[in-house]
Structures are given as structure tokens and as C-alpha cells.
């Protein structure tokens, strides 16, 4: 069966234009990488049919979802999606259980490899089932949203930084589950993330977005390696001392000469150097001290 996702068109905003000409086969999970403001979330919203002003064509599995004409498109609720937004977006005034039931009751396809019990167990939700959505932490909300999206038994899964609010342990655990479940369920996946290691483990093809346009497209590992080499070659090595680390929030306080800066650490140490290099311009000189302090 074709799993072709075609997006051609543009979305113009006051200070931002998303300009797309994409044709990808989603039989391999697709990752989307890009800096903040590159248009990653907007791209997912276009696929989901949430950007009414998108002018162009969106097609999935040969079905035209959007054709420039607003009246001709398939509305969001008929697209068979499972979407996890960055902020979880749970239905307020409902318990976790009720949020999950909302998705289950509207699921198009009830046959699935992963059961409700397996999901709530693996995502560590059983003790939260009777809690109102409002009292959950950011990470818990994202896990409920992930369970909810999977329980909707979607034809297409759109995940927008779905693990960002979780602590490093939960993140690694969830990546493991997703890597196991998604192929088992056979659900086409579009995965947006800043974290290279998440993309490396969960996706096999990658799109790099910059200011609303695709600047690179190809195999995930090839593009990530190329990116990493490019960063290494231009990075300016500087000496920094790791003053303290906050494992719970994945942050570290660094001293560079007279300045003190805070950096966000990714989940895996091997990629720490790359992430810091990319975000803060810190070079390899950081790594030995960082390892020492974190260990």
C-alpha cells in the first residue's frame, strides 16, 4: 500500500512563510529537524488540517486532504490521525482515564498490536488514571497524550516533541517503547524533535527545515552525521567549567571566562557535545570536564 505523503504549497504569515514541495514515502518513519521557528510545528499542523490558510495540496496514501480550496478538503477529524502536541493538550475537566476513553471511543480501527493495558502500564499511567488532567506535570501530560494518540488507532502518527517535557529516564524508556511499538503497529510516523538522538533511534529518513523551507532531505543517519561533522568543523573550542548539573531538568550551569551560562543537556552523553556545540557554540573542550562532573 502506498504511504506517500505529498505536500506542495505555502502558508504566509506576517513574519514567516512556510514553502513546501515534499513527496515522501512514509513506509519509513520520517523525522523533522530544525531550529525553533523553522516551521516544524506548522508543517505538522498543515498535515493535520489545522492551518486553514495553507494554500496548496496535501495528499496522503493517494487521498487528497487539501486542494487549495477549503471546501474540498478532508476535515481533520476524518483524516485518521494521532497527534501529540508539545503541550499535551489534554481535555480539561476530565480525568486521564476519560481522556483515554475519548480517543478509544472514536478510534477508527480497533485492531491493534498494543492493548490499552499494555500502553498504560508501559507509559507509567496506571497510578494517574483517576487524576484530573489539570494536576499532571508536563511529562505526565505528554505521556497521556501519547497514549491517547496511539489509542485513536491512527492511520498516521504526528508527534511534535512528544518527549521533551519528560525526564531523561522516562525519555529513554519511551524511545525504547516507541521503537518497538511503531513498527509492530505499522503506523506511518512523522516525528518532530530537536534531539538528534531521538531522531536517530525513531526515524529512518529526515527532513531539515530552515525558515520555512526544506534545506536537506535524506536518510536520518546520513544527515545527522553530516550535520554533526559540519558543526564540529566550524565550532570554536572554548574552555568551560561545569559548575553544576540538574539531572531532573537536564540542564547544566557553565562558566566561560567571566560569564555564567545555562545549557540544556540532551538525554545521551555521547551527543552532549554536539547539542552544546550547536546551541551555544561550545566546542569539544567542554566534554572531559562535563563527563567528570556528571559522572
Amino acid at each position: 500500500m502506498s504511504r506517500q505523503l505529498i505536500i506542495k504549497g505555502s502558508l504566509r504569515r506576517a513574519r514567516f512563510t512556510l514553502d513546501l514541495d515534499l513527496d515522501v514515502d512514509l513506509s519509513k518513519p520520517l523525522g523533522i529537524l530544525g531550529a525553533t521557528g523553522a516551521g516544524k510545528t506548522t508543517l505538522l499542523r498543515v498535515i493535520a488540517g489545522l492551518e486553514r490558510d495553507f494554500s496548496g495540496r496535501v495528499e496522503f496514501c493517494g487521498e487528497v486532504w487539501h486542494d487549495g480550496d477549503h471546501f474540498d478538503r478532508v476535515p481533520t477529524h476524518q483524516r485518521g490521525l494521532g497527534v501529540v502536541f508539545q503541550d499535551g493538550r489534554l481535555l480539561p475537566g476530565r480525568t486521564v482515564e476519560s481522556n483515554l476513553a475519548f480517543a478509544q471511543q472514536r478510534a477508527r480501527n480497533v485492531n491493534a498490536a498494543v492493548s490499552y493495558e499494555a500502553l498504560t502500564e508501559a507509559l507509567d499511567l496506571n497510578h494517574l488514571l483517576s487524576e484530573p488532567a489539570e494536576v499532571l506535570s508536563g511529562g505526565e501530560r505528554q505521556r497521556v497524550a501519547l497514549a491517547r494518540a496511539l489509542l485513536a488507532r491512527p492511520r498516521l502518527l504526528l508527534l511534535d516533541e512528544p518527549l521533551a517535557a519528560n525526564d531523561a529516564d522516562h525519555r529513554q524508556q519511551l524511545i525504547g517503547y516507541l521503537a518497538e511499538w511503531l513498527p509492530a503497529e505499522g503506523i506511518p510516523l512523522v516525528y518532530v524533535s530537536h534531539a538528534a538522538h531521538e531522531l536517530a533511534q525513531l526515524t529512518r529518513q529526515l527532513i531539515v527545515l530552515e525558515r520555512g523551507s526544506v534545506t536537506a532531505q535524506g536518510e536520518t543517519h546520513v544527515l545527522l552525521e553530516a550535520q554533526s561533522e559540519a558543526i564540529d568543523s566550524v565550532a570554536r573550542p572554548v574552555a568551560a567549567v561545569v559548575m553544576s548539573t540538574d539531572v531532573e531538568h537536564s540542564t547544566a550551569t557553565l562558566q566561560l571566562d567571566d560569564d555564567v551560562a545555562e545549557a540544556v543537556l540532551p538525554g545521551e552523553r555521547v551527543l552532549l557535545q554536539r547539542e552544546l556545540t550547536e546551541d551555544s557554540g561550545l566546542g569539544p573542550a567542554l566534554q572531559p570536564q562535563s563527563d567528570e562532573n556528571e559522572g
Binding site: 493535520a48 477529524h77 476524518q78 497527534v83 481535555l91 475537566g93 475519548f102 472514536r106 478510534a107 491517547r148
Partner: protein, 225 residues
């Protein structure tokens, strides 16, 4: 039934009818006002809110002009039902709906505005069509707005005087509501009877407002399962 009891019954019937009719009439209007970005929104908002500042006699006067048997609407109504809209219960209901419109629309509008678009988007991605989203996402979140709107509309209709007097006059069993009955008792110097009715209205008004403040300030039960 004594005249005053009849007035109590008629008042309750008028208030209940007005409230029940305003719920479906005000809901789409309040939804549009809460979500629309149209430039005409502020104009419609001002029109809906006018009964709050307009003297009831002014509103009553214009309703009388618009709905009297000689007018287009009034004559059409007589043709359809055989009844006149002025000095009749049905005319009072129409006048009350217009007069109480802001008391239902404004709490609903505030409640609908508090429903984030992002939540409706999430429900849509889970396969909920618009009607489903309205019934299972918007309505549970707007419960407090509906309670406030219903209580305020009912209480406000119970206390109507100027509009009722202009549109309905004082016909026992047809248009003689509580406020008119009190006015009549005072005019005839029957202060004891006026006291009984006035005290009843005082207690009712307090209870209504207490209900709004008591429950509008508290969370409703979380939907489970």
C-alpha cells in the same frame, strides 16, 4: 386561584419559558461572539447588550410599536395564530427574550471564550466531528456559564416591570406578573399584600445570586471514565 397566586404562577411560567427558549437561541449567538474576528462583532455585541442600559420603558415602547396588530410582524402573527402579540402572554415572552438576552449571552460568551482553540483542535485530531466537539468538549467546559446564564435570566425575568407594563399592561392571568401586582397593591394602598410579594421577590433574588456566586466560583465535578 387568588390574584396574587395567579401572578406568582404567571411570573414563574414567563421566567421559565424565557429561560428555556433563550438557551438554544443564545448559544449560537454567544459562540459566534466568542470566536468571531469579524469587524461586525462589536456592533452585534453592543446591540445584544443594549437592554442592560436602555430604560425598560424605551424598549417596551419600541416593542409595542414593532409588534402591535397594525405592524407587519404583529399582523403576520395574528394571521398565523389568531392572537395579538401586544397585551398577551406570547408577546410578553418575546419581549422578555429580547430584554433578557444579554443576561444569557454574556455568561455563555465568557464561558465559550474560555474554551481554548487548542483543545478543540486536539479533539478534532482524535476523530471528533464538530457536533461531537460541541457536545462533549465545549458543553462540559461551559457548564458554569450555562448555570449563570439560566439563573440570571430567570431572576431578571421575574423582576421585569417596565417592559411588561408597556407590552402587556395588567391583565390578570395573561400579563399580570408579580412586579405589576406589587405596583397595583401599592397604588391601592394595600401595603400588606405588597409586602408579602416584595419580600418573596427579595428572598428569591438573594437566593438566585447566592446560587450563581456559590457555584460559579467552584469547579464542577471532573468527568470520569
Amino acid at each position: 386561584m387568588s390574584g396574587d397566586l395567579q401572578a406568582v404562577w404567571l411570573t414563574a411560567l414567563l421566567a421559565a419559558t424565557t429561560t428555556l427558549l433563550l438557551v438554544p437561541l443564545a448559544s449560537p449567538l454567544a459562540w459566534w461572539l466568542a470566536r468571531s474576528t469579524s469587524p461586525s462583532r462589536s456592533v452585534i455585541e453592543a446591540v445584544v447588550a443594549m437592554p442592560l442600559v436602555l430604560p425598560p420603558t424605551v424598549l417596551g415602547f419600541y416593542l409595542l410599536v414593532m409588534l402591535n396588530p397594525e405592524s407587519a410582524v404583529g399582523s403576520l402573527w395574528i394571521e398565523l395564530t389568531g392572537d395579538s402579540l401586544t397585551f398577551s402572554f406570547s408577546g410578553l415572552v418575546i419581549a422578555s427574550i429580547i430584554y433578557s438576552l444579554p443576561f444569557m449571552v454574556q455568561p455563555l460568551q465568557a464561558a465559550f471564550r474560555a474554551v481554548p482553540e487548542s483543545v478543540l483542535e486536539a479533539a478534532a485530531t482524535l476523530g471528533a466531528p464538530p457536533r461531537d466537539r460541541w457536545l462533549n468538549v465545549v458543553l462540559p467546559m461551559a457548564k458554569r456559564g450555562y448555570l449563570t446564564g439560566c439563573v440570571l435570566t430567570f431572576a431578571h425575568t421575574v423582576g421585569e416591570f417596565g417592559v411588561v407594563l408597556m407590552m402587556g399592561g395588567n391583565i390578570p392571568g395573561e400579563t399580570r406578573v408579580l412586579s405589576i401586582a406589587i405596583y397595583e397593591h401599592v397604588e391601592t394602598l394595600n401595603y400588606d399584600a405588597a409586602h408579602v410579594l416584595a419580600l418573596g421577590l427579595l428572598g428569591f433574588s438573594f437566593l438566585s445570586l447566592w446560587l450563581v456566586y456559590r457555584y460559579a466560583g467552584h469547579r464542577f465535578e471532573v468527568v470520569r471514565g
